[in-house]
Symmetry: C2
Subunit: 244 residues, 2 copies
């Protein structure tokens, strides 16, 4: 395990959903912000690696375990820790501590370095990760397999101006918003996710339409985001009743 | 003028746009958060007025003057000050100070108290505003007149799950997102707003379609948000070239 870094945060009203919980896509954005701050504090911030190597960090996979979500006004701690890396992938955990000190959310994530111009994955640069004091491993940690959806419901979305971040790319958290949005609101009012697996395959661009496709079977929903006929992201969400 | 209250804030990457500036709708959410914190600090927080009076604060109008927008990573101060109130309306300013200490954004806003059940405007409760030490006036401060659009372009939007806040209502900042989104992205990459007048007329609800209508004439854009055939919000935005 590598160097830890933590940030305090209080959940504002405009980032909470109808259940008074933080919006999960926002929690992913926050987590990314915290890892960005750690990189900066170690002298290998996003600006630095862009200027010296023309690389940017992107996330390819999330595996999220949720005991409960942070609530409106709750003071939480977001802690991050790089756990290992290999030739291509960097593994990093985020732990969210609730106001009572309990671990309430655990986010396992996979980062890769991408060449900004070619949009292709670049080998991990030892120079950059050295700052995190993290172990290099040979093996690749595999996420779950996602089988193709067979007869999904699908809804059309357009990429909106404010879906773009400062790089002009669709922010990762938007994919999860499109996935949530196709689920019946009555279900979303009664359930919270307890396990989310989310994989990003290919970027979508401004001006393109996307389809958010879903199949729900009881407390499991399986998702695909497609654009121009190809799959851009896949997810599996296990839900639990809010009452539990 | 009443009691002032200020909060420090650093602009995170996921709240910045393609121009590396903070997303203006996010700045409005933040401002609202700051006035909420002031109310809380004075013992008249949102929970308190809901429990004791069954009332909630809503915003009916903004008048925003922008010298420049806060940038990615910039450490800003958001200061708020109630300026006056009358029988129905409470007037409040927000001043955004940039990292160099300059006033970069000034937001004039109009708040009213709404009955949570009837969704109707309620007279200002002296009891609640007393905490802010602000002058009661007789006159009503009038915003600009918005004439109806004559031959606007219009784009259809659906209210999305994550457009809802913890009250289950569409967050105010979303209206401005819909207004921005119908403007050509090349224009948005080259211009920033310098003056925004925005008026909220009637809520839109989840499950309803809305139309974002726009007429742009040079550096002025005029906007309407309609739903079920009636106007819900109107705005006028004066833009300036980023290069200026």
């Amino acid at each position: 395990m590598g160097k830890k870094y933590a940030v305090d945060y209080q959940v504002p009203f405009y980032e909470t959903d109808v259940n008074h919980n933080v919006k999960l896509p926002h929690l992913l954005s926050l987590a990314l912000q915290v890892s960005g701050l750690q990189s900066l504090s170690l002298g290998v911030g996003d600006d630095y690696i862009f200027k010296t190597h023309h690389l940017v960090w992107i996330i390819t996979e999330y595996d999220i375990e949720i005991e409960r979500l942070p609530k409106y006004g709750e003071k939480i701690i977001i802690e991050t820790e790089p756990t290992a890396y290999n030739k291509l992938f960097c593994y990093r955990d985020f732990t969210i501590y609730g106001e009572n000190g309990d671990k309430i959310v655990l986010i396992h994530s996979v980062f890769v370095l991408m060449d900004y111009e070619s949009r292709k994955v670049h080998q991990v640069v030892d120079d950059i990760v050295a700052a995190f004091d993290v172990e290099k491993i040979k093996r690749i940690v595999r996420g779950p397999k996602y089988s193709a959806l067979e007869s999904p419901e699908e809804t059309l979305y357009r990429v909106r101006y404010f879906d773009l971040d400062l790089n002009g790319h669709v922010n990762n958290s938007k994919y999860l918003e499109w996935m949530y949005d196709v689920i019946d609101i009555d279900f979303l009012r009664q359930h919270i996710p307890q396990k989310v697996n989310l994989k990003f395959i290919k970027e979508v661009y401004y001006g393109n339409d996307i389809l958010s496709r879903v199949e729900r079977d009881g407390l499991t929903s399986r998702h695909e985001i497609t654009s121009a006929g190809t799959v851009r992201a896949q997810a599996k969400i296990e839900w639990k009743s809010k009452a539990d």
